[in-house]
Symmetry: C2
Subunit: 164 residues, 2 copies
Amino acid sequence: MAMSPDLTAAAVIDALTANRQSLATAESLTGGLIGAELTSVPGASKAYLGGLITYATELKHVLAGVPTAVLAEYGPVSPATATAMALGVQAATGADWAVAVTGVAGPDPQDGHAPGEVWVGLANPKAEATAHRLELVGSRDEIRAQTVAATFSMLLDLLRPSAF
Amino acid sequence: MAMSPDLTAAAVIDALTANRQSLATAESLTGGLIGAELTSVPGASKAYLGGLITYATELKHVLAGVPTAVLAEYGPVSPATATAMALGVQAATGADWAVAVTGVAGPDPQDGHAPGEVWVGLANPKAEATAHRLELVGSRDEIRAQTVAATFSMLLDLLRPSAF
């Protein structure tokens, strides 16, 4: 990537602020890294509200409202869980946009999923959610950092005027 | 500090795992950095459940259950808010221990509080909460990093057998 993560986080905050829109996050494998990078930007409070760290599977239900039936049928690493996490944190916070990430950072596989399988859920201001699969390669730290970068890139595509 | 933040995060996970206890977090000025560092440790899921990023003041009430009367009377940067955040995320997640941080990372003052004023709330397994004031000096990034380091240090003092 040409841009450092911090510059990308600033671009996300700038785009949201320009649009007068807010963002919330629900993070599993990144454990708060997306929120940490967004809030490294001075003035982030104009656009970033906060969100949930649903690291334990149970918290995906308890905090983000992912139905236990979804977790039982599809598991925590699934498009259904990613979209439900995004919609859940959007509803809980009242944010215009919400992003959720769930996947396997490694080094070990989890529930039959290999390290690097990551699902990103995105909820737009109409509360319509989509899920996007990432297939990442690298160490635990690299997979987490790549997840953050990919999430910011997706958000920028949606937030910038050229996308409308 | 002699130890890097990652080593300290690993020590916190190790101490919790040895005690068979769990931890949850509620973060304001750090925006997820405490969770991000804890989950950088492989095996963190044995001890760290997740938590809340209550960056916007409203989310301290909506997600962490801080009473609006506390926020109105004492403000978000206060010992009362820090302890209420810790007890709120502990109740929401069922964690044995909970830590909460709220304060001013800067560069600008907030609600009459200077950058570097940080309150750490700690809730123990008996759901007893205490608040601890940090007075930090440095850039936004440095204040956030020092908050994480101080939080881990406080947790280790409580978690390690010598503390009992």
